[in-house]
């Protein structure tokens, strides 16, 4: 079918590989890598921007970032965005793990910043008491901040391999970050060179108030769980305004309406395309993050039913325009915050 010329700005589409936590599923499925590989490849066939995978210490399931690292070599284009908690983890390790996911996926990594707020999770670590959401999100913002600084702590051209002087790196292009947060500090630099995307994509579920400011300050992608397009549009306007107030370009913060989906037949899939098109026309956001009731079933119907309709209506691209997740999202590769300082001083 010849493609009609498309002039509309396409919407972005992301899909959660995990179903609702309480849904009974085959007991072993969540530990089987092939399950996730199949889903991610299917999402890739539908040219979805990225897949997400949730994580929690509070319910059965594997480490999400590990699962998507396992998926990375078996996929070529789709973005891989695991949830990573910042509460009981080491900011330095979080930064290098997400950085490494970007290396092994050749520039397709992101992470969804999360917190672990329950007393049950605190008891698994035995180091601190459960804290209120405001405090945890303040810390999460600091972790997102230091992670990005650590990604920048190697300039892109730090590795010089200069045989004449015997130097592998130009150490003037490696930077201590000297970050002091309210509950931790990190000296730096990272042990891992700057990743292919410069900075992997940062996502935040900005539905709850304490997370919203963190999203405005640090996220490339914000999810808002909403029930109608007007609420989504309001949340988007709020996030963009907050980003602007923080000195950010609001166009660098994509807001995706996060919706539960449950598809039973191809008619449902076409109906979803109508709904997404209507919401998009109503200014609901830059795209959608779909949370399925049954990932395998719903994704198959989405890719075979919803996606072709959206493509036909010029609401979804037909191919990946680039190789990295940032390219899919139309987000530029960030400049290194430390590079200009060096140029000024030299």
């Amino acid at each position: 079918m010849p493609q009609p010329p498309c002039s509309l700005r396409p919407l972005h589409l992301a899909f959660a590989l995990d179903g609702p936590p309480r849904r009974a599923r085959r007991a072993t499925e969540v530990y089987d890598p092939e399950h996730y590989v199949r889903l991610a490849r299917l999402a890739e066939r539908g040219t979805l921007d990225f897949v997400t995978l949730g994580d929690s210490f509070a319910r059965p399931g594997p480490d999400a970032l590990a699962v998507l690292a396992r998926v990375a070599p078996r996929t070529g284009r789709v973005g891989l965005v695991p949830a990573v908690t910042t509460t009981h983890t080491e900011p330095f390790h979080v930064s290098t793990a997400v950085n490494t996911l970007d290396w092994v996926s050749r520039g397709r990594a992101g992470w969804t910043v999360e917190v672990s707020g329950t007393p049950a999770e605190a008891r698994l670590f035995g180091r601190r008491e459960a804290a209120p959401a405001d405090a945890l999100w303040r810390e999460a913002g600091e972790v997102a901040d230091v992670a990005a600084r650590l990604w920048d702590s190697w300039e892109d051209d730090a590795e010089i391999r200069d045989t004449a002087t015997g130097r592998f790196v130009d150490r003037d292009k490696l930077h201590h970050v000297d970050f002091r947060g309210t509950s931790f500090s990190v000296r730096g630099p990272s042990i891992t060179p700057r990743p292919p995307q410069g900075r992997p994509v940062v996502a935040v579920d900005a539905t709850a108030r304490p997370a919203r400011q963190v999203a405005a300050a640090h996220a490339d992608v914000a999810f808002v769980r909403v029930e109608d397009p007007a609420t989504a549009a309001a949340a988007r306007a709020d996030l963009r305004e907050r980003a602007r107030a923080l000195g950010r370009d609001p166009d660098r913060l994509l807001v995706l309406a996060s919706l539960p989906v449950e598809l039973y037949c191809s008619g449902d899939a076409v109906g979803l395309a109508d709904l997404l098109g209507d919401w998009h026309a109503d200014g609901a956001g830059d795209g959608f993050h779909l949370r399925p009731a049954d990932p395998a079933r719903d994704l198959a119907l989405l890719v075979d039913g919803t996606v072709p309709v959206l493509q036909h209506r010029c609401l979804l691209r037909r191919f990946y325009p680039g190789a990295t997740l940032r390219e899919h999202l139309g987000l530029p590769r960030p400049a290194n915050r430390y590079a200009p300082a060096r140029k000024v001083s030299s």
């Binding site: 970032l65 590990a66 009981h88 290098t96 793990a97 092994v104 698994l124 670590f125 130009d170 630099p189």
Partner: protein, 470 residues
């Protein structure tokens, strides 16, 4: 006979391929170490590729699997090393986070074991046990954990915990860490029901349910690196593999060891560690001793020696020679000529010059030995450093190297070797192409994997599920 002249020993006539090892020979285990962040790894060679691209990891891992190795090994770094207050810039620098790379490698390999070095000082048992169990699930039973400890406040500056841990506390913390991880790995019933764990000790308090069922290996394989007294005790109590130095036990640094002294040191270490197992109710076979070794191959013995000399010069650049000297002397020696004589001043024993490296216990003694060697042989600074550091473990024709490795294992100086190539990513190619077939002909190396898990490759039993948990 010196170690470096072992290649001149005549190789035996090629034996007819045999399906099993000849009498007196023992099967050996091989592992591959990703070329490290140190001056063993030569980055100036035209064949040196990226140390960070996934393709380099994939190439080395696939090569190791082609050679039917037991496992692929990644070291860890948590702080870039510093020298004279500045980041050390002469060696390969930068590496990915190990467990994430190994999960990706699980997708492009099928049987190869996947070993991550992860520190117990700057991690928490619940999270790390979960990450390792996840790797074991996602690789269908191929995960291993090299348990290491760090004490220095320098590394601590990157972590919440910060600060300094007393040397003795490092191992008590590590032991409690591993015990807690094992309790978590064992916590689900055979029927797939999570049972809460309740651990309270001097270092950790962990209460609650684990998020994963028991993994395919029961417990990932546990490796202990190093040969200190505490390390040996820790290994005998809890490890499946000891990753040790080769030839270091029988000689003092700076003194060239002989082939026989190297073998004898290996045997002494081997007997000592294996002898400690019975006290823990363990059999000698339940712990594998695998020294880290380097190798240089050549078409003839002389060719191999020549290549070895070239590699040593690559490893010790003029700048690296001065740096090695500064690590011993503890003072700035940048004014010295690397091609000139050694300094006649004495080392500063309290120096803080080098950060993030193992401290030299008696710098004055090392300095005296190096000066004596330099004077006796008329060696320059660079030549002295080349002579005293970084000597290759196995140098020779493929047949000679296969013969020596087989002999070391037969003599119970080791159960196998962790090979440390000097080049990324092609550093293992020659060994797998040329030495592996000879080891297979001798019947001391598998031609196919018999099992699917790393424990099955190593001949280790699956850990017994504690009574009351099934």
């Amino acid at each position: 006979m010196t170690r470096s002249s072992t290649s001149t020993r005549t190789a035996p006539a090629p034996a007819a391929p045999v399906p099993t090892a000849a009498p007196g020979l023992r099967r050996l285990h091989l592992a591959a170490h990703f070329p490290g962040v140190n001056n063993t790894t030569v980055w100036t060679d035209p064949g040196a590729g990226s140390q960070i691209d996934f393709a380099s990891f994939e190439h080395l891992a696939r090569t190791a699997e082609r050679g039917r190795f037991d496992f692929f090994f990644l070291a860890e770094g948590l702080r870039l090393r510093e020298h004279k207050g500045r980041i050390h810039d002469l060696d390969v620098l930068g590496r990915p986070e190990s467990i994430t790379v190994l999960n990706a490698l699980a997708a492009v390999t099928d049987r190869l074991g996947l070993a991550a070095t992860v520190n117990t000082t700057f991690n928490e048992p619940y999270e790390l046990a979960r990450r390792l169990a996840t790797l074991d699930h996602l690789s269908a039973g191929r995960a291993a954990w090299n348990v290491v400890t760090t004490s220095d406040a320098f590394t601590g500056e990157n972590f919440r915990r910060g600060g300094y841990l007393d040397h003795a506390d490092r191992y008590t913390r590590a032991a409690e860490f591993v015990a807690t991880a094992r309790a978590l790995w064992d916590s689900w019933t055979a029927g797939g029901v999570p049972r809460p764990v309740s651990h309270q000790g001097p270092h950790f308090r962990v209460r609650g349910a684990f998020t994963l069922p028991r993994s395919p290996q029961g417990h990932p394989v546990v490796i202990q690196a190093g040969d200190s007294a505490e390390g040996r005790a820790f290994a005998a109590a809890t490890a499946d593999i000891v990753f040790t130095g080769w030839g270091s036990g029988g000689r003092t640094p700076g003194k060239r060891s002989t082939w026989h002294s190297t073998l004898a040191a290996g045997q002494e270490f081997y007997a000592d560690v294996k002898g400690r197992l019975a006290a823990h109710g363990r059999t000698a076979d339940s712990l594998k001793i695998m020294p880290g070794v380097t190798f240089v191959l050549g078409d003839t013995a002389a060719d191999a020696q020549e290549r070895a000399a070239v590699i040593r010069r690559q490893q010790v650049s003029p700048q690296n020679a001065l740096l090695a000297l500064e690590q011993v002397w503890g003072v700035d020696l940048s004014g010295y000529d690397p091609d000139g004589p050694l300094p006649d001043i004495d080392p500063d024993p309290g120096s803080q010059l080098a950060q993030g490296r193992v401290r030299i216990a008696d710098p004055k003694a090392v300095a005296d030995r190096w000066r004596a060697l330099s004077e006796a042989k008329g060696l320059s600074i660079r030549e002295t450093v080349i002579e005293t550091t970084g000597r290759q473990s196995f140098v020779g024709t493929p047949a000679a190297v296969a013969e020596e490795m087989t002999a070391c294992v037969a003599a119970r100086a080791a159960d196998g070797f962790i090979l440390v190539p000097h080049l990324t990513p092609g550093g293992l190619d020659d060994f797998v192409d040329r030495v592996v077939p000879l080891l297979q002909e001798r019947g001391v190396l598998r031609t196919e994997y018999a099992g699917t898990t790393l424990r099955s490759h190593l001949g280790l039993p699956d850990p017994v599920r504690p009574v009351g948990k099934d």
